[in-house]
Assembly symmetry: C2
Homo-oligomer: 295 residues x 2
């Protein structure tokens, strides 16, 4: 039988430490809980890359390679926005496969931002797909119910479940108040906390994390109280208006429990030197800022 | 510039009639509102196909080709479960591209069951990816807010928004009661009805449909009242326990507004003749049953 992508990825990471422990170690090594988001959009890629690689998928691959080499050693983790690669069909998915492989070879923890959510065997297939790509964790949508999270965990993946997202329009669903007094987001948070308690790492954090935007600090405190064991993947810092204070509201009392993600402000950074120098500088600036917040 | 998958797909279907009108016409031509789900799982594919095509992606491609040729002329629409193809990485996505191309050439309306849900430019990329694959419509998850539906519609795609799914565990999220008396599913239904009213076709149905499982007929009536203009994509009939009565509860008073989907009961049908004959017979049986229900 021909090698499938899943075969190529080798054994699932379930055999070693779980996701939370691997992430915790990577954060301690790097010294700052930041995650650089790779959301490559062709029109924003440096002109010299586009000139060398006139095909869209090739330009994105070379750009991702430059970003990954620039941020490794500074950021413990990277997050790939699956949509930006799927946009180019099977050729784009092949670039995603190779880029995740490079990220892993550079020692980066890899989050696949795919926001998948399906039932039964379809969820098993999405889990196998993410493992096949080489991801350590995947973002998922829990609208179909908490049991839909299980296949990913059984496959050895960490999870970040969408709880409270940073986009303004999310209020129209997530801020609704239930009859029992909780918001929809708090109901999802409780489901995440329950599912995650069965998956605690030695570090005291769970393999089941949550996406909680940095633009809602008042709600953030309430969500942290409901999810004491979760790592929060935190979008919205910087470009979307989230502040250091917003991030502080999401921390556990021990200063842990967040992975702050920034994309455009890092990967499209401008500077006097090369574009890779500018990205490395922006990643260091982000890491330094967040180190101050959590320290 | 190298042709991307999106380029290959030609112009977005937005230039002609919208999705609801194209689906309505296809249903009238076929005479029954059924949709065959392609959720190919390697272990369930006929042995002769696996013997001829020892690579997983190749076996799935040949199986999908047999299914599509067997159901065309009987079912107006097919639904591809994206996870089953993504499972095999870029090679699997290439099979999905070619299989959707074949479905379109056979005159079938194509629903991509991908349950995507993201914000801003990521949603735009998912819409472009679905268009690039050749899909007429895509299933989406609205947890991130109603405005996240717009990019798909602007790209000329029809939508089926997850409202009330057929899996038992969905109650843990969708059945919660809001302070205003609605369930979470009803809240989502109202958002879908509002978004969809701006996208009415000449047939009186909207390009924005909803996924409503066939296993909840009591709730189904209430959801139909809230979404009079929506086509309901209805999983759960047959294999998951949904009955003719459950489907009847979802109809509009004019007998329209459903697209009943079945997968395993059709694509893995057994019979005395070839596997393609068995699939064709199972598709006809499904179409006949549902014709009686809606007629």
């Amino acid at each position: 039988m021909m090698q499938s992508a899943a075969d190529r990825a080798g054994p699932a990471p379930a055999s070693g430490p779980g996701f939370a422990d691997r992430l915790d170690r990577a954060i301690r090594t790097a010294g700052s809980p930041v995650c650089v988001g790779l959301d490559p959009v062709l029109g924003s890629i440096p002109g010299d890359v586009r000139a060398r690689r006139p095909d869209a998928a090739g330009a994105i691959e070379e750009f991702c390679s430059g970003v990954l080499r620039s941020v490794s050693g500074v950021a413990p983790a990277v997050k790939f926005q699956s949509a930006c690669f799927e946009r180019y069909g099977s050729a784009g998915v092949a670039v995603l496969e190779r880029s995740i492989g490079l990220a892993r070879s550079l020692g980066l923890v890899v989050v696949l931002d795919a926001k998948r959510g399906d039932i039964g065997i379809s969820a098993e297939h999405y889990a196998a797909a993410a493992r096949g790509l080489g991801a350590d964790a995947i973002t998922v949508n829990g609208y179909l119910g908490p049991s839909t999270l299980e296949p990913y965990l059984e496959g050895g993946l960490g999870l970040f479940v969408l709880v409270r997202t940073s986009n303004p329009d999310s209020d129209a669903v997530q801020a609704h108040r239930l009859a029992d007094g909780r918001s929809v987001a708090e109901m999802m948070a409780d489901a995440v906390a329950t599912a995650g308690h069965e998956r605690l790492g030695a570090c005291g954090l769970s393999d089941v994390g949550a996406v909680v935007g940095a633009t809602k600090s008042s709600e953030g405190r309430a969500l942290r109280a409901r999810m004491p064991e979760q790592v929060f993947l935190v979008p919205g810092y910087g470009a979307q208006g989230g502040t250091a204070e917003d991030v502080r509201a999401l921390l556990r009392s021990d200063g842990r429990g967040v992975l702050v993600t920034a994309s455009r402000s890092v990967i499209y950074a401008k500077g006097d030197g090369s574009w890779t120098d500018a990205i490395a500088a922006a990643a260091r600036k982000l890491a330094d800022e967040i180190r101050t917040v959590v320290g």
